[in-house]
């Protein structure tokens, strides 16, 4: 059965490849990609970025490098360790104590994820698919994303970061296209990492360019005013720097802390502005507590097999494409409606919507698939050190970590996982028995 499906997929792939290689679309796409790459290489923008290398704090960074070498805590950043650690931390800082059943279901999810990572590690990877196009792809993703961002802000009439009501005027399609800025930035950093590895640039140049890319990417995506994207950008770019050996674990942990502090601080400012008496450290705990309490309720109501039989998962697509039959509301809105809340959407942790659809069985399967994808991307990164593998791991792992709170229910995020998984699968060396 399994060999039949592999043969069918291979046949489809070959047919598409054959037709695509001869098509005008391929020629045109390659021309556009080359045009953008050449344009970037010869641009003044690139030349100007050389100037920033002068400001590289060499002495300071050499001290951090020494510390990185002295205390080697790299194993913490292995998905097998980091994901359960962050999840436990998430539950730990919550002001809400989940029930035994909810804790048990989370543990099942964590074990399934770790199991998935373990299985995926057995895979072997050769040359990563699309690696030859990595720099061209990075530039194209950034150009498309920035172009969509400009159109989106123009449509909204104001910058949502400074004028929150303008968020209502954003176009879903443009915002999703604008979210390509994040994978574009992460891929660009991974390309810089590969250039460093190949000795084409030095460490100080790599660090300065990578940090400039992180700042630009985060600054651009923050304009649409969605916190999740900002955190994914900071986490994803910093992970890409780590896996490319541009930065060490101390810098990565600092980025994690800055992200956490950033969320707390902005939440605190907003709470103060709205007259709520809340401490800066309490903000995260309260927010996490609310999300966990929603999850807890769902678990206690529907724990064995769920109730919606996949319609919440389907809502990820049907709420975006009207021609797909299914709910017109997004998954988070469906959760909110279940609690009688009509004007806002509600998050129910990474496992909430899966619990609603298929119960604990659903959590096991979902966490296993996530573990397989992240584990495979991690193994591909360690084996190939290719820009594509690093960027896929950094992007998807950042989304998984942020998704612990927000859930993974957006159409664009699903597409990132789907395409990322396909590329990783394609780069796998098949086993011959």
């Amino acid at each position: 059965m399994s060999s039949l499906s592999v043969r069918v997929i291979s046949r489809i792939e070959e047919t598409i490849k054959k037709n695509f290689q001869k098509s005008k679309t391929r020629e045109l796409s390659l021309l556009i990609l080359s045009f953008l790459e050449n344009s970037f290489i010869k641009s003044k923008v690139r030349k100007t970025s050389f100037l920033f290398v002068m400001f590289y704090p060499g002495r300071f960074w050499s001290k951090i490098d020494k510390l990185n070498k002295r205390f080697n805590l790299e194993f913490f950043l292995d998905p097998f360790i980091l994901f359960p650690l962050v999840y436990i931390g998430f539950v730990g800082i919550s002001t809400y104590r989940p029930s035994f059943l909810a804790t048990f279901s989370i543990l099942i999810g964590l074990i399934s994820f770790m199991f998935g990572v373990k299985i995926a590690r057995k895979s072997e990877f050769g040359v990563t698919a699309l690696e030859n196009y990595s720099s061209r792809l990075a530039i194209s993703l950034l150009v498309i994303g920035v172009f969509a961002l400009v159109l989106d802000i123009e449509r909204a009439g104001a910058v949502p970061l400074f004028e929150p009501f303008a968020k209502k005027g954003l176009s879903v399609s443009y915002t999703m296209l604008a979210s390509l800025i994040v994978p574009g930035g992460i891929l660009a950093i991974s390309v810089i990492g590969v250039k460093l590895r190949n000795g084409e640039i030095g460490l100080r140049e790599a660090r300065v360019y990578a940090l400039l890319t992180l700042l630009t990417t985060t600054m651009l995506i923050s304009l649409v005013g969605f916190r999740t994207q900002i955190i994914v950008s900071i986490l994803g770019c910093s992970m890409a720097m780590y896996f490319s050996r541009i930065l060490g674990w101390i810098e990565i942990v600092s980025f994690f802390m800055v992200s956490l502090f950033g969320i707390s601080f902005f939440g605190y400012l907003r709470a103060v502005e709205e007259g709520a008496g809340i401490g800066i450290l309490e903000v995260l705990g309260r927010r996490v507590g609310l999300t966990l309490s929603i999850y807890d309720t769902l678990v206690n109501l529907y724990w064995p097999f769920g109730v919606n039989r996949g319609s919440v998962a389907l809502a990820t697509f049907s709420s975006y494409f009207s021609f797909i039959p299914g709910p017109s509301l997004g998954p988070r809105t469906i959760v909110a409606r279940m609690f009688g809340v009509y004007d806002i959407s509600m998050t129910s942790t990474l496992f909430g919507t899966v619990m609603l659809d298929f119960g604990i069985i659903g959590i096991m399967v979902f966490a296993l698939i996530l573990g397989l994808i992240i584990g495979a991307a991690y193994k591909a990164t360690l084996q190939t050190h290719s820009a594509i593998a690093i960027s896929i791991l950094s992007l998807l792992f950042a989304y998984v970590l942020v998704g612990i709170e927000t859930g993974l229910v957006d159409f664009n995020v699903f597409m990132f996982f789907f395409i990322g998984a396909l590329i990783i699968l394609k780069s796998r060396i098949p086993r011959h028995y």
Binding site: N38, K42, S43, V143, V150, E154, F162, K168, D343
Partner: protein, 260 residues
């Protein structure tokens, strides 16, 4: 010169990435500038406390503040609300909002559920662009209600003001109406921001009117033997584009834009 030079990455002779970056930066600067520098008085339903803060700044200086409110009636799923009215007072995270027919509704934020309306957007509109606080005596005595109106009208005309707005304790001597009737009468009037609870003594009823516009007082008929005003504050409102000169016997002219 080639229109598109693939090798050089040029479009019409100009490097594509350079021009792209310049256009994007220019656009973002323009958007940033127009969002931050030309700040208006429009707020989303999530910014109730910001809206209240701005209202309080204006109210403190004597501006009567109208608003265009857009949102949904709470308790319904899709019944929209879109109306212009006068802000009476802020309560915790909400506004009391007077419609032109005198009805008072409670406007809450986008997530409110106790009020009448859950707002999507609210735009504050001060009745006047500029305002000046007149130097007045702490108290006045008039033989009749009409005499008080004539005095205030003269004051308004003398200073070429578009509106005259008064805050004072109005003591109606030997009024035919009960405190409750007087309270209801004034409270229903559109351009009177707020009316305090009436105090009744042997021969007088005293009401505190907050920011009452002269035309509304003129249209309210009160039968009483005489009238006394205490703790009087009078504002002159100007709706002109240009800032008017400071009237005699008044403090400096304040534009609402200066307060944003």
């Amino acid at each position: 010169m080639k229109v598109v030079d693939i090798k050089e990455g040029r479009l019409l002779g100009i490097n594509f990435i350079d021009i792209f970056v310049v256009v994007v930066v220019a656009f973002l600067l323009f958007s940033f500038g127009s969002t931050i520098l030309f700040k208006d008085l429009t707020f989303s339903g999530d910014e109730m406390y910001s809206a209240i803060k701005e209202f309080e700044k204006l109210n403190e200086k004597g501006f009567l503040v109208e608003a265009v409110a857009e949102g949904k009636w709470i308790g319904t799923e899709d019944v929209l609300f879109n109306s212009r009215g006068l802000i009476v007072r802020p309560t915790r995270g909400a506004f009391e909002f007077k419609l032109k027919d005198g009805r008072i509704l409670k406007l809450g934020g986008s997530m409110s559920y106790l009020e009448d309306i859950a707002l999507d957007k609210i735009t504050l509109i001060p009745l006047d662009r500029h305002i000046a606080k007149l130097k007045t005596s702490p108290g006045y005595q008039f033989k009749s209600y009409n005499e008080m109106i004539s005095y205030l009208k003269n004051l308004k005309e003398k200073n070429n003001a578009d509106h005259l707005i008064i805050t004072a304790d109005f003591s109606f001597i030997n009024s035919v109406e009960t405190p409750q009737e007087l309270y209801n009468k004034f409270r229903r009037r559109y351009l009177i921001r707020d009316v305090g609870k009436g105090i009744s003594t042997e021969n007088a009823v005293t009401l505190r009117l907050e920011l009452a516009e002269l035309s509304e007082l003129e249209n309210t008929h009160v039968k009483c033997d005489s009238i006394a005003l205490g703790e009087v504050v009078i504002y002159l409102g100007y709706d002109t584009e240009e800032k008017p000169e400071q009237p005699t016997d008044s403090g400096p002219v304040i534009s609402y834009e200066d307060l944003l």
